[in-house]
């Protein structure tokens, strides 16, 4: 009976104060949508960056006219470096074939000779694929006798890393602001709700109601607002997902399931609602109790 009474109180209060309640739900929905979307974007960018790093190859071009034994020696030297996972030799003829494949022209027909140098394609172990390591590695390889040039897409990697870090840092910043905004809004709605019912709270107190009995409808109100906000946010995110999947087809969305997004969003919404209301309502109720 007590629980039914509390639930009835909660839902009738939600209905009675539907305007501020709707505003809170919408704010939670918008904030959660931005929050989860940001989280996902950061996640996708980190994954793409990781994948790019994993598949990144360093090209080491050798000087012309090196003997086969010298080339084998350099290969051995490269394989001996700790960071190196794999070394693949690209001969002059293989380089010509690649040129032919990529540009659709036979270099021998254009220049009557093959100027492309012998090179190695090097793959590093994943944890060495960082700008600092790469710079040091480049220097190390550059010093090997017979090496002409070491080339890798460092600019792209560095830029991607900077962007990803910026997204992550701004994500945390936005996350904190959104949390504060949600908390303030829930607090304000509850404050209005508590003050609108301060007489009722005083009456309950006079009848011997404990603090928990008085507070529980307010706490549930916050949790329900968070829950509804979370559900609405999930709907928004599903639509955003579908749009992003078709628009940015080059990105890998495969590992994100709607169920997981829904679970995270709804649980986060409910938890924020619950914690914000539980944290603030006792203060407001105590204020009313102590005003007598």
């Amino acid at each position: 009976m007590k629980l039914i009474f509390i639930l009835r109180q909660t839902f009738s209060n939600l209905w009675r104060e539907r305007t501020p309640v709707t505003a809170t739900i919408l704010t939670i929905c918008i904030a959660l949508t931005i929050l989860v979307a940001l989280f996902e974007v950061s996640f996708i960018l980190f994954n793409q960056l990781d994948e790019l790093k994993n598949n990144m190859q360093i090209e080491v071009y050798l000087k012309n006219d090196l003997s086969d034994s010298k080339i084998r020696t350099i290969k051995g030297q490269l394989e001996g470096i700790t960071e190196v996972k794999n070394v693949r030799l690209i001969t002059k003829s293989m380089a010509a074939e690649i040129f032919n494949r990529e540009f659709g022209e036979d270099i021998m027909e254009i220049l009557d000779e093959n100027p492309l140098p012998v090179s190695f394609e090097i793959t590093l172990y994943q944890h060495f694929n960082k700008p600092d390591y790469l710079k040091a590695f480049r220097q190390k390889v550059q010093n090997i006798n017979g090496v002409e040039e070491v080339h890798y897409r460092h600019a792209l990697i560095e830029k991607l890393e900077t962007v990803t870090q910026a997204v992550a840092v701004s994500g945390i910043f936005i996350l904190i602001i959104l949390f504060i905004a949600m908390n303030l809004l829930i607090r304000n709605t509850l404050k209005l709700s508590v003050y609108a019912r301060r007489k009722q709270i005083e009456i309950m107190n006079n009848l011997g109601a404990g603090h928990l009995f008085v507070r529980m409808p307010f706490i549930l109100e916050g949790a329900i607002e968070g829950l509804i906000g979370g559900i609405l946010s999930t709907v928004c995110l599903v639509f955003a997902h579908k749009f992003a999947e078709t628009t940015f087809s080059m990105l890998d969305f495969a590992r994100y399931t709607y169920e997981l997004v829904a679970l995270i969003t709804i649980c986060t919404g409910t938890a924020i609602g619950f914690v914000s209301s539980a944290g603030s309502v006792s203060g407001f109720v105590n204020k009313i109790f102590s005003k007598k």
Partner: protein
């Protein structure tokens, strides 16, 4: 038994403060607390259900003592005391049934018990027909009867009535008084604060007169807004 020992309360400089109150209220009594507005009647009642605690002295209500009581125990005390106010203090957007049932819901009574007790009391105060009506739709007299039913639903050992007829017309006031008398006959102590002397002039209940926060001793005269009253006899 309710006892006040050298109780002083200085909660408001203008009115309501109490000075050196010594008083004993016995079980089963109907006690009338009389005096002009601001004489300290309401403060004295509020000390009984410990909405306020004395600055000096001790108030003991049954087994609870003001000097040692915790907030949790105050809640518990209030569950054993019925209180009726001049402004009824009903929850206006709740129906009559829920208003009366509230003290039982707070104490987690079963639904069947709640139905039995609440409908029984509503029948007693002639409001069975209004059980589903919102409190806000009732007349003032009906509201006070609902408030009395709510105060009585837990079968308290004492019912405190603070100006219960203050907002009512003569007819409704008489009905409320006779309802309180009926409750008293069933064994519940009643402490009723009022300044409606006409209403209680024919009753033989114990009267305590208050003026400026003190109990007026016999032989003195007190001034009210309407008349001068000679205190010829008083128990304390």
């Amino acid at each position: 038994m309710i006892q006040f020992k050298q109780v002083t309360l200085d909660y408001n400089q203008v009115s309501g403060a109490l000075k050196d109150i010594n008083l004993q209220l016995h079980d089963g009594d109907f006690t009338l607390l009389l005096g002009p507005t601001g004489s300290g009647k309401s403060s004295l009642l509020r000390l009984i259900y410990m909405e306020m605690l004395p600055n000096r002295g001790i108030v003991s209500v049954d087994r609870w003592i003001s000097s040692h009581i915790t907030p949790r125990q105050i809640n518990f005390l209030r569950r054993h005391i019925g209180v009726v106010f001049q402004d009824f203090r009903l929850i206006e957007n709740m129906n009559v049934f829920d208003n009366v049932a509230l003290p039982l819901i707070i104490e987690s009574y079963k639904k069947s018990q709640i139905n039995k007790l609440v409908y029984g009391l509503l029948d007693e105060v002639n409001l069975l027909h209004a059980a589903d009506q919102l409190a806000s739709t009732l007349s003032l007299g009906e509201k006070q009867r609902v408030a009395i039913a709510r105060a009585m639903v837990k079968d308290p050992f004492v019912l405190i009535a603070d100006e219960p007829t203050g907002n009512l017309d003569r007819e409704a006031s008489k009905n409320v008084l006779s309802l309180l008398e009926r409750i008293n006959r069933n064994g519940t102590s009643i402490i009723m604060a009022t300044h409606d002397y006409d209403l209680i002039k024919d009753t033989q209940y114990r009267r305590i007169y208050m003026e400026q926060g003190q109990i007026v001793p016999p032989g003195r005269t007190i001034n009210t807004s309407k008349r001068r009253i000679n205190i010829l006899m008083q128990d304390e």
